[in-house]
């Protein structure tokens, strides 16, 4: 038990330290030496994610579900490690558009919609108030534990008023802090240096405090992890907690929920996006934040087990183990430190959340209202910056008041974690519009409105209303039997979906409706021009190099713009801003001249930083005189740009195609020329080959005709020459026709299964007489068993005859020898025809298969071939899918080989 006054004094002293740190950081920032422009401070400030809920509630959750506390930390880790590119885009967009809050972000993305900004703000308030209440509850409970230990049970014997008053005081102090350090500047995009420094410090304090208790429990009360866990394992209920039984669908749902929470929770958006000083800090935070979360979770299970072992009777609420254990062991100093840690966690969260939400309330709820309904009144006032600040201050007070009231009226019903998750689930409803909207241009305002509204309604019905029911503000039967007893509408088992916990259940239905409507409505919807404009600017933010051509209006003088800015930013800030503008552009501003689009845009961005994008747009729009360039015109320009881009891409494509076509054409032309030459050569050669026998025929015919007194033997000789040359001519003509048919594919192939032995026999029979006349020995080796080949029988016979007669032609008369062999292979049959003629020089062995290529002997007296025989052979073999070649050593004969595929290979 710790004396009340001492506790209060310590708390106040700690809070004073926070004030001092914040004050010091603000002073340093004013002097231009920022302490928060540092990745470690940045990562620590994101540690505001770990609230009092983490500090006390994780232990409570671990004590009842074992590993069930983990998803809340795995989610952010996954988001930072895997989803950092999404975060980076979010940060870039926010910097370019001077986004101040998540409501501003969503409103801005969907055409600077007031309605969306307002909706998101209302949701934020409704979703965040229970969470703030939770922090207040945590602080007052912990206060109570220290004050009254050991007379503390889950319910607590102390009077309601005491707790209530503690919470009230805490709330007031936090409000003071938030107002002092969260509303110093009117331009919300300027960093809250003091606040960020203070919460980074708090992150350190709560981490050390929690680690201290963890070390104390693990090594002070027990002999390390091993001892603690083995003793815990002896208790059956605790052994249960060490299994992975908690890793079910709910567990995954919570992990997913936490992934969205780390960016959607208003305070997280504030520290990650708005307070980000350099994009590169995110890269360090990618591993620093997961490390922080890991450290703060290491001792959750040990403390939970330690508590369960120490208080086996369940007399102490597991949510208070962090305090109760040191107290029970008579270490009030450590307990006090733990209390300070918890206080840190709570204040950090409350301060950032209230600053963020107050900005939202001011920019997205109050300002639009004031602009709409009290424009005349506002225009009379010279300087509105003070008003804006006061609205924000009021909003901070209001939120904390609401949190306090919620805590008083409802907060007792729930365990800490449950309230936290209800808040998470509300924030998760923004995730589709937020994340998908950064990548999908078609997503429309109405789609976002429909999705978010539906998700929010279902969240209200399945989580918020039941929480009222549990606290007795609605009949209990609402949860048990559904409204009016309609079972299908039971809030925890909507449409009969059971078996999930209430959070997963709500998340399933709300996100299903949310994403479904968001995508569906967007697809059916037609975007307005401003929506298309903003969608393009958001989705393509990395392509625009930080600037865009978004704003262009008609005529407005620079002075008028300055007046507008002054009203909202204050004289001092406005002058600074205009000076900065002049410095950036490198020229003095002529205040009497008409403002160009650049300046208009600059001022609109500055205003957006103060009053939100939507309101800034209205303000600027109403200041500009005359017709102005409409958004349609801008969109048109953007469209034209994109069309020009598209057109130039098409041109590129076309010119590439043209190039391709040209080169193809060139190739074709070349080929045609070649073919033409070939045809020319072919014709010339054919002519030559035809004229040669014709010359002999004509000459001898004329000689026979003109020389009647020729002796009989000579006459006979000349006549036989005429006959032989005529035959040669006929053969030649046939071969030319055959070759042409083969080459042009007009040959009529009669494909069938053919026995090659039969083919060889046929050819041999046809040439038998010729061989015998020349005294050439013919040896034909046919295997007894041979599968059929696939081919054209007549053509194969022609092939065999050509090769055999070729062999015959080159064999020496009298001692010639020709050998035919068949060698069946795996898929092909190889036929070889060997002669013992003069052979073929190596350099000719390829060429002989070309048309009209002849190995001219000139000594045999025989008419040489036409030069077409082997070309035809090759044509036949290749058509049948085989190969033909020759092997020869000059002086040692030549062997021709060809292959044909077997019919069933």
């Amino acid at each position: 038990m710790i004396a009340g006054w001492f506790l209060v004094a310590t708390s106040l002293a700690y809070l004073s330290l926070l004030f001092a740190i914040a004050y010091w950081a603000d002073r340093r920032a004013d002097a231009g030496r920022s302490v928060i422009a540092n990745p470690y401070i940045y990562a620590l400030s994101i540690g505001v994610y770990a609230t009092a809920w983490t500090f006390y509630g994780s232990v409570g959750r671990a004590a009842s579900t074992g590993l069930g506390f983990l998803p809340v930390y795995i989610g952010p880790t996954l988001m930072f490690v895997l989803g950092w590119i999404v975060l980076l885009k979010m940060i870039r967009i926010s910097k370019v558009h001077r986004i101040t809050t998540i409501a501003d972000f969503i409103s801005s993305r969907y055409g600077k919609s007031h309605l969306l900004g307002g909706l998101v703000t209302i949701m934020a308030v409704i979703g965040m108030v229970p969470y703030i209440a939770l922090q207040l509850k945590a602080v007052s409970t912990s206060f109570n534990v220290l004050l009254h230990y050991p007379h503390v049970t889950a319910e607590g014997p102390s009077g309601f008023a005491v707790i209530g008053d503690t919470a009230l005081w805490v709330a007031i102090l936090m409000a003071a802090f938030a107002i002092l350090f969260g509303t110093r500047h009117i331009d919300a995009t300027e960093h809250h240096e003091g606040m960020v420094a203070a919460i980074a410090f708090e992150s350190v304090v709560k981490l050390i405090a929690f680690l201290s208790v963890g070390l104390f429990v693990t090594y002070g009360m027990f002999d390390g992890f091993g001892d603690l866990f083995s003793r815990a394992a002896e208790v059956p209920e605790m052994r249960e907690l060490m299994t992975t039984a908690a890793l079910d669908a709910d567990w995954l749902a919570l992990t997913f929920l936490s992934m969205t929470a780390i960016i959607c929770l208003t305070r997280q958006f504030q520290v990650i996006v708005v307070e980000n000083v350099h994009e590169r800090h995110l890269i360090k935070a990618m591993w620093l934040l997961p490390l922080y979360l890991l450290l703060i979770n290491i001792f959750v299970l040990p403390i939970a087990f330690g508590g369960l072992l120490r208080f086996p009777d369940g007399s102490v609420d597991a949510d208070t183990f962090v305090l109760a254990l040191p107290m029970a062991e008579q270490y009030p100093g450590l307990a006090l430190f733990a209390f300070i840690g918890g206080l840190s966690a709570a204040t950090g969260m409350v301060i950032v959340a209230t600053v963020a939400i107050s900005t939202m309330i001011c920019n997205d709820l109050v300002m639009p209202g004031l602009l709409r309904f009290a424009w005349l009144h506002l225009s009379e006032r010279r300087d509105l910056s003070g008003l804006l600040l006061n609205i924000r201050r009021g909003a901070i007070g209001l939120i904390l008041l609401l949190g306090y009231l919620y805590f008083l009226l409802i907060g007792e019903a729930y365990a800490l974690v449950a309230i936290g998750l209800v808040s998470f689930a509300a924030a998760a409803q923004w995730a589709p519009a937020l994340i998908i909207g950064m990548y999908w241009k078609t997503a429309s305002r109405r789609g976002a409105l429909a999705g978010i509204s539906a998700g929010f309604l279902i969240w209200t019905y399945t989580l918020l209303l039941p929480s009222f029911a549990r606290s007795g503000y609605l009949p209990e039967g609402f949860i048990e039997f559904g409204p009016f007893g309609i079972e299908l509408l039971k809030p925890y088992a909507l449409f009969g979906l059971e078996g999930l916990n209430s959070i997963s259940h709500s998340l399933f239905w709300s996100l299903l409706a949310n994403v479904g409507l968001y995508v569906g409505v967007s697809l059916l919807d037609r975007q307005s021009t401003i929506e298309r404009l903003q969608a393009t600017l958001f989705v393509d933010v990395f392509r625009q190099g930080g600037a865009d051509t978004a704003t262009m209006y008609g005529t407005v003088s620079a002075t008028d713009l300055r007046d507008v800015a002054e009203r909202f930013l204050g004289r001092e800030h406005t002058e600074e801003a205009f000076a900065e503008y002049a410095r950036l552009r490198g020229r003095a501003l002529d205040l009497n001249a008409n403002a160009d689009g650049d300046l208009v845009q600059f001022v609109e961005r500055r205003l957006a930083g103060a009053i939100g994008a939507a309101s800034a747009r209205v303000m600027i729009g109403s200041t500009v005189k005359g017709e102005g360039v409409s958004v349609d015109a801008i969109m048109q320009i953007l469209d034209e740009t994109s069309q020009v881009l598209k057109y130039s891409r098409q041109l590129e494509q076309k010119s590439w195609e043209l190039e391709l076509a040209t080169s193809e054409l060139k190739a074709a032309n070349k080929r045609l020329t070649e073919l033409d030459h070939l045809k020319d050569d072919f014709l010339s050669t054919v002519t030559h080959e035809l004229r040669t026998p014709l010359t002999s025929i004509r000459s001898f015919s004329e000689i026979l005709h003109d020389t009647p007194d020729l002796d009989v033997a000579e006459r006979q000789h000349f006549l036989s020459i005429v006959i032989r040359e005529s035959e040669r001519l006929t053969r030649l003509i046939n071969q030319v026709l055959d070759l042409t048919k083969i080459e042009t594919g007009r040959m009529d192939w009669q494909m069938s299964d053919v026995d090659v032995r039969d083919v060889i026999n046929h050819a041999v029979t046809a040439l038998k007489q010729l061989f015998d006349e020349k005294g050439i020995g013919l040896e034909v080796n046919l295997p007894a068993d041979l599968p059929p080949v696939r081919g054209d029988r007549d053509q194969l016979i022609q092939l065999a005859i050509n090769l055999l007669s070729n062999a015959e032609k080159f064999c020496p008369e009298g001692k010639g020898r020709v050998v035919v062999d068949l060698a069946p292979g795996n898929r092909f049959l190889t036929v070889s025809i060997a002669d013992n003629g003069p052979g073929i020089p190596e350099d000719q062995q390829q060429l002989i298969f070309e048309k009209f290529h002849q190995v001219r002997g000139g000594n045999t007296g025989n008419p040489m071939g036409s030069g077409l025989g082997l070309a035809i052979c090759r044509g036949i073999v290749e058509h049948l899918g085989g190969r033909i070649w020759v092997r020869s050593r000059p002086g040692h004969g030549a062997t021709f080989y060809f292959t044909v595929p077997f019919a069933h290979s």
């Binding site: 010339s684 002519t687 030559h688 080959e689 004229r691 040669t692 014709l694 010359t695 002999s696 025929i697 004509r698 000459s699 001898f700 004329e702 000689i703 003109d706 020389t707 020459i721 040359e725 001219r856 000139g858 007296g861 008419p863």
Partner: protein
Amino acid sequence: MAKSILVVEDEPNIVLSLQFLMKQAGFEVRVARDGEEALREVEDKAPDLILLDVMIPKRDGYDVCQTIRANPDWREIYIIMLTAKGRDVDRDKGLSLGANDYVTKPFSTRDLTEKVKHILSGAG
């Protein structure tokens, strides 16, 4: 003394017919079956007239013609190119290389004989 003719041709039957025709006309006939043999024959004893086929082995008719024309001693040899190729380019090529006349196969034996007789009688 009989005029001499060199027949340069690789087709045996055409050689036979030309030999018959020229001998019948009273000329002395020698035969060469390729370009190298033709040049050897010319070197051996320059003929009065050469019937020179273009498509012959080893050194073709153009080559032989050019070689003969390169030697001033052989300027008087009358060269008639014989070819189965009937294109204008082939004829022009032959004439530009120094052939005196050009006959396309198949030829009229009567015309060829008359032509040769005329040339050799005029020259002699």
